[in-house]
Amino acid sequence: MPEQIKDLVDWLLGPKIYFLLSVVGFWAMIQFRAFWTQAWVAGGIFVFGVVFFALSMGDRDFTLIVAKPDNVPISIMFVSIGFLLWLSFRKMVINDRLIAKGLPTFEARESRRRVFCWPDLVYSEFLCLIILSVLLLVWALYLKAPLEEPASSARTPNPSKAPWYFLGLQEMLVYYDPWLAGVVFPLQIITGLMAIPFIDINPKGNGYYTFKERPFAIVTYLFGFIVLWATLIVLGTFLRGPNWNFFGPYEFWDPHKVEALNNVNLSEYVYNVLLERALPSNILLRELPGFLAVALYFGALPPVLANFGFRKIYSQLGFIRFNVLANLLLFMAALPIKMLLRWAFNLKYIVAIPEYFFNI
């Protein structure tokens, strides 16, 4: 592959453009679902991806990171998510067209018919089991499980990475402190997932693929799963090297790469830049702007949204459901918001009380 293309890709995949591209790509996936789910377009994207991947394997730095045994599942995840998204969006598009014409969905036509579990279900389960066993055996025979040097608490590897499925969380550490990125956000993800059936009271779309009958639910969930979870895992695994610095896929992992970090707290912006005076010695006074910002974000936004813009949703959901939903959405939006603030204003902390480990 020519060096110019490699340089272009390395530049394109910087954390900022990478994330923005994944958001734009996500928007395009939703918006143009009727177009890209056609067999020839999806096939074309797949072939392009395979060719690009094959050409990239010629690059030493790329191969080094992608072919690492523990990183292979990420490529498998990438391909299977892509394929299954195609499959489900295809079904959504077809069903939505049927619904628009007033016809029963694909599933509705078939669900009236009942078939015996033996053989219809049992056989396909058995087939699935055999195929998966073969794939696992081939994978296991072909690729050795990794075993590095014996454990030593004296030698810290650089970079130190969590297991691959937690790398989206580790990537969040760039923008938030561990108490948020490592504790509060994961707990919010779990409780948020558990709350889904109780927040989403839309009775439609139960048991069949549809987009138009529940666009908000699908966009929100997929944004969380695809953009905030899966693509951040890819970023954290393939594009973060020593010192958690960013490295393009064709870039050498140089441990001496220097990146300037001169991030500024909100309190410093307000007092030093805006009011042109020294920071107050009283911590609460010093961090007042940050506290106000957070309080407004979580406290004032939900009632404002309930009265403007989301009025209909509020009346449908009621007070408690709406506030739970708003709170979860605001937590979800907190990551992209902090990313944008960091990139645009070098903002470090909104509330910065390192004395008590309370940084937001």
Binding site: S88, F116, P178, F225
Partner: protein
């Protein structure tokens, strides 16, 4: 044909199978009903529900991978001692002394595959709206099973006791030290004091409870081993029983009302 008949007419065969070859409705029903494993299934299902393109078979794949992990895991336990002295060398011996040995490979790749298949199962259930009433509770059981799957994978990650293992677990468990109030580097922890004596320290906080020490060490290895091989699989097993049972009780595989 007579050979087949002479087998299926024996007392041994008849003691195993209480039905004829399932090529008619009665025996098809009996094949599922009279088998303890198959009777997880109903006798009949919606045609839409048995389509692979609808279910992706992801729930079944996840369960199958759990069984693979159980079987390979039991075999690995024969040759593995969870102590700092032996752990790494036992794994190394497995690698060097067993020709064509793939138990550890099957276990590791199966575990990665299971994490992916759980996510994809969840994606399918969401996209088909299958968490909606009456299946809210089962979705919640599923979320807990997802967390248990990640914990199983995380605790297993430490057991080879190599650099990869110890540092991945160190990075992961370091998050616990930042837990608000109950982590010694978390916000609010420094307010919990008796006189001058801090109550939440590196030797008493939630991270200490998790890894059983100030750093990932011998006690952590044993603790994660027990969690990985006994505690979490038992919990997951119970919840899986609930999960499967509720699928049946909530009307089987989801479909349009």
């Amino acid at each position: 044909m007579t050979l087949l008949k002479s087998i299926t007419e024996t007392q041994i065969w008849k003691s195993l199978f209480r039905h004829k070859y399932p090529d008619n409705p009665r025996d098809q029903a009996l094949a599922v009903l009279s088998n303890v494993f198959l009777h997880l299934h109903p006798i009949k299902v919606k045609k839409s529900g048995v389509r692979m393109s609808f279910t992706w078979c992801m729930g079944g794949i996840t369960f199958f991978l759990f069984l693979v992990e159980t079987i390979t895991g039991v075999l690995l336990m024969f040759y593995y001692r969870p102590t700092v002295e032996f752990a790494f060398n036992d794994i190394k011996a497995l690698r060097e002394h067993v020709p064509l040995g793939i138990m550890r490979e099957l276990h590791r790749w199966g575990a990665h595959a299971m994490v992916i298949s759980v996510w994809l199962h969840m994606l399918r259930v969401f996209l088909t709206g299958s968490y909606k009433p009456p299946r809210e509770f089962n979705w919640n059981v599923g979320v807990i099973l997802l967390v248990l799957t990640l914990l199983l994978s995380f605790t297993g990650y430490l057991l080879p006791w190599d650099q990869l293992a110890i540092w991945a677990v160190t990075v992961g468990s370091n998050m616990a030290r930042a837990h608000p109030i109950i982590g010694h580097e978390g916000p609010g922890a420094s307010f919990l004091q008796l006189g001058d004596v801090p109550l939440v320290t590196a030797a008493s906080d939630v991270r200490f409870a998790l890894i059983s020490g100030r750093v990932v060490g011998a006690a952590t290895l044993l603790r994660f081993y027990v969690l990985h091989c006994v505690a979490i699989p038992l919990g997951a097993g119970v919840l899986m029983a609930v999960h499967f049972w509720r699928v049946r009780k909530d009307g089987g595989i989801s479909g349009p009302m």
